[in-house]
Symmetry: C2
Subunit: 404 residues, 2 copies
């Protein structure tokens, strides 16, 4: 008897018919002898509908009330799925985040889970019930409703799997697994059978947005095996787990990329301690997320400092950075908002030399200019012209034989 946590996203429960399909799938898994805890998102479109209502009444609704509002979305789906299961004479019971209870801090709209009480769930499982939990939500010490932020249902599922010591946490979504790269760019892209947490983190943050990053971090921290599967077709999906010593690891697992980036470079910054925080502090305070950060060795007592942001944040970032540059007595700010980033990801990279060189060589052969380079232990990212992105991804996919 294995305990499995399964999470179904908004598209999977987007209509009454799809909820019925999910019910069938769950019953099949129960009949295979599994204890099941199901985590659900709101029906697709519902969160946006509720946000639309909120925004008509308040241009900046408070976090607390927004959470009261948005948490109804999952509460509807858990009740509906229960009803669908009971119609098939399968015993099920639903719990809101507060009922479980999933205790969080009080940061409304992006709360963090502190503790999960597994007593009720264990008692229900012992009675042979399927337990259905509202994703994305919890409550704070005072009983205020909190939500975990967009995609938070993945985190709920992983946290429950950790608390219950589940054998596996399965994330059902509209893709059938994690691919070597985006199949829309490279038609030979191949589904990966397995991947390490670290690789998935690099893949996710770089644009292959299958799973919420926080849920992968969580899974890694508590060593919860995570599987990405399709709600709509059968298949083993992609298993994301810790690296196992005996695993014959491919050198490169996949190629991730980000289209909509912009970069800002402050030229001739006086090279003294605290420069980085003087430049990035004001950016962070405006809640602009910074992606790559590069600072080269100083020369002539000044240095050049470059960072990239999402293209939507470009103008805001530029305004801030220009002020900072004046204050620092920097030479100039230069920018490019037509860039893209492409990254090779793979734990095998650690023990293989020459990966970077193959990458640079491949791009050179295609006459693609590299404007920035940044590396980590299991990833190499380069920034290229936006127009070269597809060609870059395709040529690298072939060069590293990822289609095999």
């Amino acid at each position: 008897m294995a305990l499995i946590v399964q999470k179904f996203g908004g598209t999977s429960v987007g209509t009454v018919d799809r909820i019925q399909e999910v019910a069938k799938k769950i019953i099949k898994h129960q009949q295979q002898g599994n204890d099941l805890v199901i985590v659900l998102s709101a029906m697709s479109g519902e969160t946006n509908r509720l946000l639309g209502l909120a925004n008509q009444l308040n241009d900046q609704p408070k976090g607390r009330e927004l959470d009261v509002l948005l948490s109804t979305g999952e509460q509807v789906t858990i009740a509906l799925l229960c009803m669908a299961l009971e119609q098939q004479n399968v015993e099920a019971i639903s719990y809101t985040g507060n009922q479980v209870r999933i205790l969080t801090d009080n940061t409304h709209n992006k709360a963090r889970i502190i503790e999960i009480d597994d007593k009720k769930i264990r008692a229900d499982l012992a009675q042979g019930r399927i337990v259905i939990v509202a994703g994305f939500q919890g409550c704070d010490e005072q009983g205020n409703i909190t939500t975990l932020g967009r995609g938070g249902s993945d985190t709920t599922a992983v946290a429950l799997a950790a608390a219950l010591k589940a054998k596996e946490c399965q994330i059902y979504t509209d893709v059938d697994g994690v691919y070597t790269t985006d199949p829309r760019v490279v038609s030979e892209a191949r589904r990966l059978d397995r991947l390490t947490y670290e690789e998935m983190l690099e893949m996710a943050s770089l644009g292959a947005k299958v799973l919420q990053i926080r849920s992968v971090e969580f899974a890694s921290k508590y060593n919860v095996p995570l599987r990405v599967l399709s709600s709509f077709k059968d298949g083993g999906g992609t298993l994301i787990s810790a690296e196992e010593p005996q695993m014959e690891q491919a050198v490169i697992s996949g190629i991730a990329f980000n289209r909509d980036e912009a970069k800002l470079t402050v030229l001739g910054v006086p090279d003294h301690p605290g420069v980085a925080t003087q430049i990035l502090g004001p950016i962070a305070r405006e809640n602009i997320e910074v992606d790559m950060i590069i600072q080269n060795t100083a020369y002539d007592a000044t240095t050049d400092f470059t960072f990239s942001v999402h293209r939507n944040d470009f103008q805001a970032a530029l305004t801030i950075v220009q002020k900072t540059a004046d204050k620092l007595g920097a030479k100039e700010v230069i920018t490019d908002n037509k860039i893209a980033k492409v990254s090779l990801v793979g734990v095998g990279m650690r023990s293989h030399a020459g990966i970077a060189n193959t990458m640079f060589e491949t791009l050179a052969d295609e006459n693609i200019n590299i404007s920035m380079i940044s590396t980590s232990e299991i990833k190499i990212s380069v920034v290229v012209d936006e127009k070269d992105l597809d060609l870059a991804v395709r040529s690298l996919h072939t060069a590293f034989k990822l289609e095999q």
Copy 2:
């Protein structure tokens, strides 16, 4: 500083614009120096939308899950109203039934309130906040979500007013008060300024469906002054309260009526103890609500037993009663499903003789035949042919000078 509980129904919060109107009204009342606790229903149509989803998945959804589902309706409106108030810089806070907490028994879909914890609400009021509570819902000892049944938001409002010892419980609805009778039938019908609980109970149960009966019972039990007002136009509405000795009471307060009744008579029932329950027991077990019950003095060791039901339940009731009649050895079952009931209501009736006679005389003058009569201390009901109903109501309204 008076504490007032105000309840707004589904139509009053049915759209974003209407929620904004409600917010304005509330702010005005706060500026007049009142402490306010607001109880809301779901947006009109929302409960039916949710029920529709449920019925597509399960032809008989379990009470527990239905309550999880339906309680989201009010949770949405309380958050939205809070946002609308905060947009106007008025401090407000929302609570679900579980958060307050409103403790109920565990009879899902028609739970009864056991206890209300007023601590949080009092603390918020002391901070100058407007407190907004989801109507219609509570939770049981185990933390399961419960609902109070259709119209239960009125009961929530009255129960909160009782718990908080509010000066008044105001029910905002789409009519501007309680009328002497239905203005669609008698154009001279007049809005009543005040009414006793007993009169309102008789009016409500007889068809003037402005307030949920249970909420009036509750108000009467805890002596909460209840006021029915329009959400859409100004005016004092109708105050429903205990009878005051000094009140110069009109003899008759109003005329209530029910159109869609049907009556069933079992003729020649052997007159022995237990007959009434033998006839009505099987009816009650099928959840058919019985309205009037009349049994005349026995003659010749048999009696005739008549009761009326809503016309929708007529066929079901007939099937059951025919079986019972056979079992009891009764002579025959006769029926009429084209009847209507008209009732005079008024506490003044108690001290005035001759009301019944004036009623019968008035109907006789109009050549209206009376087929059943039933009386209580403050009400006289007669059953007439459906086709005579409007004429009966109009002529009685004039005879008792209710337009003045």
